[in-house]
């Protein structure tokens, strides 16, 4: 297919149209804001990754390897806080979502470009508070900030919780913006059921962001009030109730798990369909299960508290709902598999991550059953089993989807290709390293190794050492990725409009797109996955 539109925009695109740092700092273009987010969360990811490597290094042997217990406690707290609040929550929606959402629905921009930029700067301010907290007596409570420990510790709880509080606004603004954008700015002819599934996922995510985040904000504010003014809310020494904090906290933080995973699932739907060159199986099931998950996710928070002394009845209801929320996720997996059936599957880098996702996320989901069943949760709660489980979901799920998304939209974002060979090497190393690091932790945990332990009994040493070695393999994979992506930015070959043969709208415009996204309002001639009707060959 000849690229007609390429000629109209004639080399002009959102990256080169305006120049200078101001054109970036004050940009209202969703694509540039997406790139700003992408750069920021990448920094956060590497920072959190360094903390992770330090943790694994310290855990090579029992007792002291490289740091003392207080430093260790700070490092694992920072690892969690940075990865969650600065990387994974804003990750897919604010970076990839920002860049792609208007392109996917054929719009010029998001509904409120100024609000979009504001949300980015709020993110930056939040990050600065977080970093301030790190250099001035970093917090040591764990990212969950459980009271009354967090009321009593002498470390920087206020600055870190304030950071999370501020970051919450950024998340709410992005969510609001996306909801309105999806309602109002779809191109003519793009009905709800012609939207790509990633858009559905962003929509469901945005609802959770807007509804749940305020609860976290208020909770953290109450914690700050308690610390600063000694008002008894959570600390029993002042007449408060520590378990109340856990209820508030998980009321946000369980739905937040879906803020992290739903957009990832959305990306996987795109990737599996494009690289299987096959109509997505069960479009409606996938779209509605996103909304269903979003809704039920508000009703399961108590599964984090089976051993906190909550009533058996409450526990039973939470356990039941937890299993219920798992089923739509399982159905999605079967839908993706069925999409591959009779497809024409190619093994481009994004697809490798999608396949990794299927493998790892399935383990993550299934191991959730052990934790949803009350009797086994009693044994496994707060052990490494939980650590392994949520890393399989968050890293094996969300991060794999994120990496798949990056590799998928990279040519669109920068108009460049990256090195296929090295990208495959990195994907394989990450897959192997990940399993080495975290599969061992299932065994550690069920054998009774508690989490957040600086020191441990000798019997756990071999598995800990193996896990630490795995983290080096994982780290190496990411280093290689950093190198070939930077190389691509500097020296990558230019790429056509539609390198993967995708049918969604972003592939109809040039790579990189012009500032206004499309040279004329796009027409919706077919559904996003009509590979049974239209054959578009990749144009590398």
């Amino acid at each position: 297919m000849k690229d007609v539109k390429m000629d109209i925009t004639a080399g002009r695109n959102y990256l080169n149209e305006t120049k200078g740092w101001k054109s970036w700092a004050f940009t209202l273009d969703h694509k540039r804001i997406g790139i700003l987010y992408l750069a920021s969360i990448t920094v956060a990811f590497f920072l959190g990754g360094i903390f992770a490597m330090l943790i694994r290094l310290e855990l090579m042997h029992p007792g002291r390897d490289i740091m003392g217990p207080d430093t260790y406690n700070q490092i694992f707290t920072l690892h969690g806080a940075v990865m969650i609040f600065l990387f994974i929550i804003p990750g897919i929606p604010a970076a990839l979502g920002n860049f792609t959402l208007p392109l996917l629905i054929g719009a010029k921009d998001v509904a409120f470009p100024r609000l979009n930029l504001t949300s980015y700067y709020i993110y930056v301010v939040g990050a600065i508070f977080g970093i301030y907290s790190m250099v001035t007596g970093a917090i040591d409570t764990g990212w969950t900030f459980y009271t009354p420990y967090s009321t009593q510790t002498s470390t920087g709880v206020v600055s870190m919780t304030l950071a999370a509080f501020i970051l919450g606004f950024s998340s709410i603004f992005t969510g609001l913006n996306f909801i309105v954008t999806i309602h109002k700015l779809r191109a003519p002819g793009m009905t709800w059921f012609k939207m790509p599934l990633f858009v559905w996922a962003l929509y469901a995510t945005a609802i959770i962001q807007v509804v749940a985040t305020p609860v976290l904000g208020i909770t953290l504010l109450l914690l700050i009030l308690e610390r600063v003014f000694s008002i008894g809310i959570f600390d029993p020494a002042m007449g408060g109730d520590p378990v109340l904090f856990q209820h508030f906290f998980w009321f946000y933080s369980h739905p937040a798990v879906y803020i992290m995973i739903l957009p990832g699932m959305g990306i996987i739907s795109e990737l599996i369909s494009v690289f299987s060159h096959k109509k997505i199986f069960g479009y409606n099931a996938i779209a509605f299960s996103s909304l269903g998950i979003a809704f039920i996710s508000f009703l399961v928070w108590g599964h984090h508290m089976f051993v906190s002394g909550q009533s058996e009845l409450a526990g039973m209801i939470f356990s039941f709902l937890t299993f219920l929320v798992g089923i739509p996720s399982g159905i999605k997996i079967f839908n993706w598999l069925a999409t591959m059936y009779k497809g024409s599957i190619s093994f481009e880098t994004p697809m490798l991550y999608a396949l990794s996702f299927l493998f790892l996320f399935t383990i993550g989901g299934l191991t959730g059953m052990f934790l949803g069943a009350m009797a086994t949760d009693v044994h496994l709660h707060d052990t490494y089993f939980v650590v392994a489980h949520f890393h399989y979901v968050m890293m094996g799920g969300t991060v794999m989807a994120f990496l798949g998304g990056i590799h998928y939209w990279w040519p669109k974002m920068f108009g460049k290709t990256y090195n296929y060979f090295w990208s495959v090497v990195a994907a394989i190393l990450i897959f192997i390293g990940f399993n080495m690091t975290f599969f061992t932790q299932f065994i550690l945990g069920s054998k009774g190794m508690p989490r957040r332990y600086y020191n441990y009994l000798d019997q756990y040493q071999p598995l800990h050492a193996f896990s630490s070695v795995g983290s080096w393999v994982l780290g190496l994979g990411f280093l290689i990725m950093a190198v070939y992506l930077i190389h691509s930015l500097l020296k990558g070959k230019p790429v056509g409009n539609n390198p993967w043969g995708g049918l969604t709208l972003e592939w109809t415009t040039s790579s990189p797109p012009p500032t206004e996204n499309f040279s004329e309002t796009p027409k919706i001639l077919h559904g996003p996955y009509d590979y049974d009707k239209i054959a578009v060959e990749p144009s590398i």
């Binding site: 217990p69 029993p236 060159h277 051993v307 058996e312 598999l337 009350m374 009797a375 069920s446």
Partner: protein, 314 residues
């Protein structure tokens, strides 16, 4: 009842362990089968349908009611079973048999103390008779801790503002690890101990010996013993090096600087007060983290610790 260790689970040491492991194993088998189906079909499809040459047009199949019902209903049944098994076994964990022996558990940074019916006490070592139900009535003196014995498959948070409960029955004599599972600060990972299961007769002997411990011993020897068994050792060294608290070596008879600038002389009364009301005089350069031992030490124990510290000359 008698469960052997698997790749995943440690050997079971309580009457309930077998039941918990049955739930675990059920989920393990069910999820292994589901996982195998997912991975097998994935590998099969990517092998069979890999792209050869141009992509071309592909099948328009995008739903199949029969298939969708199957893959909704079967997982639902599988998880429903897991839910019921899990709930059933969970109830047994919390319904305490009537004739259970009651032990009071107190958690504080960073050790466990146990009080037995006849006035015996122990620290970081819970001693129980085999073949008898034991109920633990637990509370914390500071932050949240969690009582976790992997071999028994039991865990329960220990809260500062209310009692929480758990019970177990260990059929066999033996020793099991006890961990604190809720993060509680610097020495969270040192807040570990043992559960010692003794034959009923030995347990009774132990109770008796414990309530009369040290009667035949000199004060100094008893003090040295208490220094370890009452967990002073987790914070205080005797080699002159500071730990979480000051070393005991050579402090007696010397002046000590306190927070706020004042000075005190380390004499018998000062030591006594430091043990029973530690927050009253806080040594400069340290945090006010020493727990009070009020109610945990008998009069003679305090005397013994004073004598012991006195004996640690420079």
């Amino acid at each position: 009842m008698d469960t052997t260790a698997s790749i995943f689970m440690p050997p079971g040491g309580s009457t309930i362990a077998g039941e918990i492991d049955a739930v675990f194993n059920y989920i393990l088998y069910a999820s292994t089968i589901v996982f195998a189906i997912v991975v097998f079909s994935m590998i099969f499809f990517i092998a069979k349908y890999r792209r050869r040459g141009k992509a071309g047009l592909t099948s328009s199949m995008d739903h199949n009611i029969g298939l969708e019902i199957i893959w909704t209903v079967i997982p639902t049944i599988l998880v429903a079973i897991a839910f019921f098994m899990g709930f059933n076994a969970y109830l047994k964990l919390f319904v305490v048999p009537k004739d259970a022996l009651e032990v009071k558990v107190t958690a504080q940074k960073w050790f466990w103390s146990f009080e037995y019916p006849e006035g015996a006490t122990s620290i970081n070592e819970l001693v129980v008779p085999s073949g008898k139900a034991v109920k633990l009535l637990m509370s914390s003196k500071d932050v949240i801790h969690s009582f976790f014995v992997p071999d028994f498959r039991i865990k329960q948070d220990v809260l500062p503002n209310r009692y929480s409960m758990i019970w177990f029955e260990a059929p066999n004599v033996g020793e099991h690890n006890l961990f604190c599972a809720e993060y509680c600060g610097t020495k969270h990972s040192e807040m570990i101990g043992k559960v010692k299961v003794l034959p009923e007769r030995e347990y009774n002997d132990w109770l008796e010996a414990n309530s009369t411990v040290g009667e035949g011993m000199s004060l100094e020897d008893l003090g040295a013993k208490l220094y370890v068994s009452r967990a002073c050792v987790t914070c205080h060294n005797i080699d002159g090096k500071a730990g979480n608290g000051p070393s005991f070596r050579g402090i007696f008879g010397e002046p000590v600087k306190l927070v706020g600038g004042s000075q005190a002389m380390v004499d018998e009364n000062y030591i006594r007060k430091s043990i029973l009301v530690p927050q009253a005089d806080v040594v400069a350069g340290y945090q006010n983290i020493m727990p009070t031992y009020q109610g945990l030490l008998k009069e003679r124990d305090v005397d013994a610790l004073v004598a012991y510290i006195k004996s640690l000359k420079k």
